[in-house]
């Protein structure tokens, strides 16, 4: 008996001893969850250090998640009545959080604004649409991003293509990719271009819109203009392994591959330039890359570019009020350093002073991004945006990978979305 007991007691003691004891003694501790991004980590770590020096009573813990995990973790934590104090998510994930009532209204005083008008005035029009309800504003923008077409001029030249004449239509993208890709039998060894797969609201819906379709018809029904959707889906099918085999969601993502010169074209935002600079400085400074506008279809009826999206800082409503104020103060502190976000990591905070700054205009190809913004329509950010994106993704992938006929996929997508919105 004694021996057994002793063994159990010892193991329990070990447990208790091993357990870490409490946090630091700062009076307020802000837990900040964000998605993984190595360049932003460096910047924000140093900003947080400075912030903590200026506010000695606040202790900030910055926690990173892989971007696919972040939302799941935040949702699970909220469901269990826990969760971070401050966090950021892209626009499409926010509506569900808003309706769930887990977000805290912005603390204008802590963020350093006298009034709401004062805050709105500093940002571009529409910067707060996603996070605004009848009651108030629930977030502060972290980034405003749209995607254009990055091009590796070297690879173009090697394939015998003219790098000064980048593809401007999807049909050209396909033709050029055919030339740029390498194959061994039917095995695709190198791609010329590939899409940014899980983010269908940002690139695929605009492609549908170019063909005259819409996510919602004017009367509110889901999937407007079947023909446009079917056409866009057929294009994706043609792209995938069952068609011309030019790419698929199972390959490495194109934007990371682009930095190591493993693919000739990819879709990405302005921040890609900074990543390229830090990951492949030789290529960056060689000037052998370029940015072209988001392509359109040859028979485009509506000239739209990739849909821009926001990321917002948000605060957990169930944190206690000093923590909430501290969290908003930190978010505003980040926004105060918007210039550093732009110059160091290429992230655009949608402040008026940033959008019109020399700093932005001096960035290579900034004009391409800005003019594409002009002809863009914002990504859908209404109720269930995130689930709708998943459903669109399933429709595209069912056509691309499982040879479901486009007409059927469109029907299934419509009924799924309608069921979701019921």
């Amino acid at each position: 008996m004694i021996r057994v007991k002793a063994e159990i007691i010892i193991s329990l003691l070990v447990l208790i001893l091993l357990s870490s004891c409490g946090g630091k003694d700062a009076s307020v501790s802000v837990e900040y969850w964000t998605h993984e991004d190595s360049s932003r980590r460096e910047l924000e770590t140093s900003l947080i250090e400075r912030f903590e020096e200026e506010n000695p009573d606040i202790d900030v813990v910055r926690i990173e998640y892989e971007s696919a995990e972040l939302l799941d973790m935040i949702v699970s934590a909220f469901a269990a009545g826990d969760g971070p104090d401050l966090f950021n998510l892209p626009s499409e994930e926010i509506p569900d959080l808003l309706t769930g009532g887990v977000l805290s209204e912005i603390d204008l005083k802590a963020a350093g604004y006298e009034s709401e008008a004062n805050l709105l005035d500093e940002y571009i029009d529409g910067a707060f649409d996603t996070v605004t309800t009848a009651e108030g504003i629930y977030g502060l923008p972290l980034e405003y991003t749209n995607w254009c077409l990055y091009i590796n001029r070297n690879l173009f030249r090697e394939a015998g293509l003219n790098p000064d004449n980048p593809p401007s239509t999807w049909e050209e993208v396909m033709a050029v990719s055919e030339i740029l890709s390498e194959r061994d039998g039917s095995v695709l060894i190198q791609r010329g271009f590939d899409f940014r797969y899980p983010y269908y609201l940002s690139f695929f819906v605009p492609m549908v819109m170019q063909l005259g379709g819409e996510l919602f018809s004017p009367d509110g029904g889901a999937i407007y203009n079947d023909e446009a959707w079917e056409k866009a889906l057929s294009f994706m099918k043609e792209w995938g392994p069952l068609g011309r085999n030019l790419g698929s969601p199972t390959y490495e993502n194109a934007r990371t591959l682009f930095n190591s010169e493993g693919i000739a074209m990819c879709l990405s935002g302005l921040y890609q330039e900074s990543r390229l600079e830090s990951q492949n400085p030789a290529f960056f400074s060689s000037g052998e890359w370029a940015v072209a506008p988001f392509p359109v279809f040859e028979d485009t009826v509506c000239d739209v570019s990739a849909s821009p999206y926001f990321h917002y800082f948000m605060v957990n409503d169930s944190s206690d009020s000093p923590t909430k104020s501290a969290a908003w103060r930190l978010a505003a502190y980040f926004a105060d350093h918007a210039e550093e976000y732009l110059s160091e990591i290429g992230l655009i905070m949608p402040l008026k002073r940033i959008m019109s700054s020399e700093l932005l205009n001096d960035k290579p190809f900034a004009s391409v991004f800005l003019s594409d913004l002009e002809r863009s329509e914002e990504a859908y950010d209404g109720v269930h945006a995130s689930s709708i994106q998943t459903l669109i993704g399933d429709a595209v992938e069912s056509v691309m990978l499982r040879s479901v006929p486009p007409e059927k996929a469109v029907q299934a997508l419509r009924s799924s979305i309608e069921m979701l919105l019921e």
Partner: protein, 291 residues
């Protein structure tokens, strides 16, 4: 050990061929991981694949023999939490496997060799927990653990997995065939029940303890979803979390990814070979008791 006395013949050769094919199937991916951890992604996905990188590859200026391993250890943030996370994984896996063995053998013994009222209910309800997937109880379990204020602590990582229903089941199955005569002899000798457990039952469970211990160690070493939920701080994360986080940005760098996977597997492989004597000896111990 040879129980079938037969002639060396075609059957024997076929048996060997079969065993070697299975061997190739289980070992090739591991050898692949080891080889790939020294290569860059271009070589890893080369067609045809060369198992040994060409010699001039390592003499090139921007690569050394260990480039991938340095990347893997430094991680994305140069914080090098790799070893800390590995330590955490060890702590969790060791404590959980020790407690699982102790508690499950105690419980399995109680269920196998005693006829108390409600025994079947206890057994059945424990069995029932095996039939609920973790994903279903994830959120209520999170609520329990966060309610006990155990987030970001070893206790939060360890406590929910200190017992395992399968362990109880396995122990019970094993002890069902344990000769009751031994126990009764001990009782006649005046040994107390806990004493019988600790000095007769437990030592005789060695083979099953080895398999159960290794299984629960492995399960905890492998656990990803739960640590993701309860361990958010870098210093409390476990190795599987480290690997998934690493894979996010390094996904195009398959070499570094494989190096990371290889490094993360080394302690398990060493431990496995070091303990293999007990582990494989299990069968022999079992045998001597029976025979």
């Amino acid at each position: 050990m040879n129980k079938f006395v037969g002639k060396v013949g075609i059957v024997e050769i076929l048996v060997w061929i079969f065993l070697i094919l299975v061997f190739l199937f289980t070992v090739t991916p591991i050898v692949f991981m080891v080889c790939a951890s020294f290569m860059d992604s271009r070589q890893i996905l080369a067609m045809p694949f060369h198992w040994i990188p060409s010699s001039d590859y390592f003499t090139s200026a921007d690569r050394t023999f260990f480039t991938n391993f340095v990347k893997a250890i430094m991680g994305n943030n140069e914080n090098a939490t790799f070893f800390r996370n590995m330590f955490n994984s060890f702590v969790v896996a060791i404590v959980d496997s020790v407690t699982t063995v102790l508690l499950a053998s105690l419980c399995g013994y109680g269920l196998a060799k005693f006829n108390f009222k409600g025994r079947n209910i206890v057994f059945m309800s424990i069995m029932a927990t095996m039939m609920i997937p973790f994903e279903a109880i994830m959120i209520p379990l999170y609520m329990v653990v966060s309610g006990m204020d155990l987030m970001n602590s070893y206790r939060g990582l360890i406590l929910p997995f200190m017992v395992s229903a399968f362990g109880v089941f396995q122990m019970r199955q094993y002890l069902l065939t344990f000769p009751s005569e031994y126990l009764d002899a001990a009782r006649v000798d005046g040994l107390s029940e806990p004493r019988i457990y600790s000095s007769i039952v437990l030592p005789n469970c060695k083979p099953v303890i080895a398999t159960l211990g290794i299984l629960s160690f492995r399960n905890q070493w492998d656990n990803l979803l739960w640590p993701l939920l309860v361990a958010q701080r870098e210093t409390m994360k476990t190795l599987p979390q480290y690997i998934t986080q690493f894979s996010e940005e390094k996904m195009t760098d398959e070499g570094a990814m494989m190096a990371c996977a290889f490094l993360a597997s080394i302690p398990m492989i060493i431990l496995f070979f070091a303990l293999s004597r007990y582990f494989l000896g299990g069968a022999a111990v079992y045998d001597s008791r029976k025979g």
